[in-house]
Structures are given as C-alpha cells and as structure tokens.
Amino acid sequence: MMDQLAQAMSDLEEETVFKLIDERLASGTDPMEIIAACREGMSDVGKRYEAKEYYVSDLIMAGEVFKQSMAVIGENFQAETGDKKGAVVVGTAQGDIHDIGKDIVVSLLQAGNYDVIDLGVDVPPAKFVEAARESGAKVVGLSGLLTISFNAMKETVDALKAAGLDVKVMIGGGSITEQVREQVGADALGGDAQAAVDLCNEWI
C-alpha cells in the first residue's frame, strides 16, 4: 500500500498533498523522505498514464502539483544534488515555441530524480551543445510540435556529434514519426512523456 502522500500525489488531490507536506514538515520529517513520497506518487502517475487511465491534462496537473510541492519543501531545505541519477538537457527545438509537452517531460524527469537542465523554447543547436558540455549530460531531449522543428533537430544532432559529445538524443512531439527520427539522426523517438523517462532509465 502506497504512502498517504504518494497516493494523494498520484490521485492529483492537490489540497491533500500540500496539507500532508505541511504536516510532515511541521513534525520534523526528513525533507528527503517527503520528496521521495512525492516522487513515488509521480512515478505512479506515469504508470497510470501508460495504462491510459490518465491523459495529458492529468500529467500537466501532476507536473504543477509536483513543482509547487518542491517549491514548498525547497523553502525548508536545500536538496543535495549529489544523489541525482544524472543530468538530462531538455528543450524545444529552434523555431518552435511550444512547451507543454516539454514541460511534462521535465516534470516527470525531475520526479524521477534526474538533474534536468531545461533550456526552454526556440533553442538554437549551439545552446544544446553548450548545456550538454557544461553539465556532462548523457542524454539530450528535443521537443517539437511543428514540422519546422525537424531541420532544427537535425542541426542539433549534427552539432552534438561535431562537438564530440558522447550523448544520446531522444526526440518527441506531435508530428514526430520514426521516419523523422531516422532523418534527424536521433537515437530514439519518445512517443509520449513517460517514454522519455523510460529512455533515460535505460540509458543512464
């Protein structure tokens, strides 16, 4: 049986989540344990999405609740980063300003204890290269809703290779297909947000 906070997070019971976090912080519970419970809940959200019980709107809700939870806990605690699984660079490809899908991936990866470098939207290839180099990330995730992102994704993959960085590249977004992945030269296509997490779990 899941921890009560984890269950509330999984059930998207926003008020219960914040109430339990406040109670546990007040009672002196180790913030790392509270974070772990939130992460467990988010992991369950991912499973419920894969089981088609949850949809994109539920992932958006979960991401926001998780983000706000971390902000509340973070006010009381500076999280150690040493125990993170690894760094992942994520951004929406140049020319595209859509961020909903990218933000869901960021939330799930953070919940999965990855150190996520979120570059935002309309990100030029050089910025992906710089972020990957500086962070030592082993995975770069490129998001794009529009077909104009295809060329930018290819340029990013080419730039990462030219920079000699040992990274895996995953791409995802509304119109991305296996044919696009092949043309772009990415290592994998993430069909949905949970797939992005699964790929990182496999690669890191």
């Binding site: 958006i60 926001e64 595209d96 077909t147």
Partner: protein, 387 residues
Amino acid sequence: MAIKYPDRGTLYDENLDRIKRVIAFEEVDRIPVSLVSTGFNSQYLGYTLADYVKSPELQVKVQFDAMEKLRNFGRVDAMNNTPLGIGNYKFGLGSAWFNKVKLPGDELPDNVIWQIMEEELITVEDYDLILDIGWDEFKKRFIKERLGFSELDQQEAMAPIMLNASRDAEGHKKAGYVIVNGGVMVHPFDTLSGGRSMTQFILDLHRYPDKVEAIMDLMLPSAIMAGIGGASLVEPTGIWLGGWRTASGMLSPKIWDRFVLPYYIKMVEATVAAGLTPVLHFDQDWTRDLEKLKAFPAKKCILNIDGMTDIRKAKEVLDGHMAIMGDVPAAIFAAGNPEDVHNYVRDLMRDIGPTGFILGVGCDAPYNTKPENMEAYVEAGTKYGVM
C-alpha cells in the same frame, strides 16, 4: 493583385453534388479531393510567410493560385478553408485564441510559421468579472485592452476581408471549388484555455469546475454566432467546429464528458439548423470517444482528422453515420517522399472509401511541405479515388 477567376461551367455543381452524396453516404463516381494548405501555398509560389501574413490580398491569391497550379497534377474538388484568408493575423488568430501571436517577419524570421503565445492573459480573477459583466462585454474589453485592438483597429482588420468577400467567394465557386469550410466556430474550452494558458486552465478545471462551466455556458451563444455569422460572407457548404485542446487524447473522460461534448452537441445543432455542414476539425487523438460522436445527427457532419486519430477505427465506428475527411499527416508532407504519399493515399481510399469519404490533408499542410509531395497527393487522390 486581382485574380482572374476562370469560369468552369457546371464543374462546381458536379463537385457540390459529389460532396453532398459523400455526407449522405450515397454512392459516388469517385472520392473527392480536398485541400487546405495556408503556409505551403506561399512557399509553393515563391513568397515568404512574412509576405503572406502582411497582405490580405496575397493570402487569397496564393491559396487560389496554388490550387490552380496543382490542377496540373490531378483534381482539386474542394477547399477545406475559407477563400478569404485571415487578413490581419494578430487580430484574427489572437481574437480566436485570446492570446498574442508572433508573426514571421515581425517577431519571427521570415519563414517561421506564426505561433500563438501561452501567456496568462485571462487571470483567475477575471472569472468573477466575466460572471458579473457577461462574456460579450469582457471580450470587447479584452480585445481592446489586452490584445491592443481598438474598435477602429478591428474594423480596419476586417475591412479587406469584407470588401472583396462576395467577389472572391463567388470566383472560387465559378472556378469549380466547393468551399467545404467557410468559417470557424471555436469551442469555449479552446478560447478559455488559450487566454488562461493550457496549464493554468487545466488547474482551473480541477480547482473551480463549477465556475469554469458557468463561464463556458455564457460563452457558447457568442461562439455559435461568430461561427455562423462569419460563414455568411462566403456562403459555404459548411464551417469548422474547431477541436484542438478538446481532444480525447488530451483530457480525462471525466473532464471531456463535462466540459467538451455537451458544448459540441449544441454547436452542431446550431450549425445544422443554420443549414451548414459541421466540419468537425478534430486535431490530435479522438479515438477513445469516437462512439460518443454518434450523439451528433446522422449524415449531417464531416469528421475532419489529422492523422493522430485512428481513421480506420473511425470508419468502423462511424460508417453510415458520419463522413470522414482526412488524414494525410504533416510528417509525410514534410519528411516523406512521393512514394510515401501515394502509398498512404492509396491505402486510405481502399480502407475508408468508397462511400462517406473525402480525401483530405491532416489539419493544414505545413509550410515545409515538399512540393513534389503535395503534387503526389493530388495525383494519387485522382488516381486511386475512381470507383
């Protein structure tokens, strides 16, 4: 920039009869080919997107000239887009989505497609204001104060479209093109989520569901009037009932059943009552709720999908009830080759025809469509559509 519209005699009547037979699930001699490609048209004819968005006259011209050029490769029987263009894109798209718009040649490079912002332009405090003053008054104030279009600006934005509407609509029909979609009716969900931003609106649905529902109820009459009223400029066979963020793939059944379907039912009823065919322009994935679309009246609507809904499942569930238009996806146009297009269209014709089907582009052919792929689409649609 005046267009010389050719007179193709009875071609329009023949094409119109064919479309009506499709909607009624009657036998046809061949499956109609429809087209919608706003961004692609510019590229196809050597203009930038910046040129396109800045000129209402060019918007009309490139769409018509592109269809005429594509006639060299096969038939183009219907257009799934208004012949009048959008005119002022910041006003046209901004007032539909209640948010700011970035344009090529302005905030964006010349050949990057226009993009709608995700800013929280409607605040949660505005909900009480809307309930107090009504949606129409709020909309008036919003467009003026937050999108920056005074009443004079709005009239100036609409003027180019209104001035030549009759001439251009009749010209397209004289040239043989059935205008399957002559306007857009926007679901209150899409408008409100556009103004709140998707993320904030999703939170609102969980936090203030009753208030959101009350506001959407207030918005609906205005949305219906705008969709039907806009069509009167063109006298098309139908109008789009837009479906973007309302897709089943985006929303849980609980949210979809309460905040999406009941409004579409009323939108469809009003559209049919106005003598127009509801073209359910349903982007993203609607597969989960196909069965529920049977709530719409039989043989009155067209389900217009973009490659993400399972079109074969749609055929299985809705055959005999609702015609389908679609669904060659953007990725094939932009990243595929002519053989890919031919194979995709051939399989569609085989699996979704022979009755109740109009070949269509998934949503809108992207700006970076390879010209040879669009030519292959028209060619394949003509070749494989003969019954």
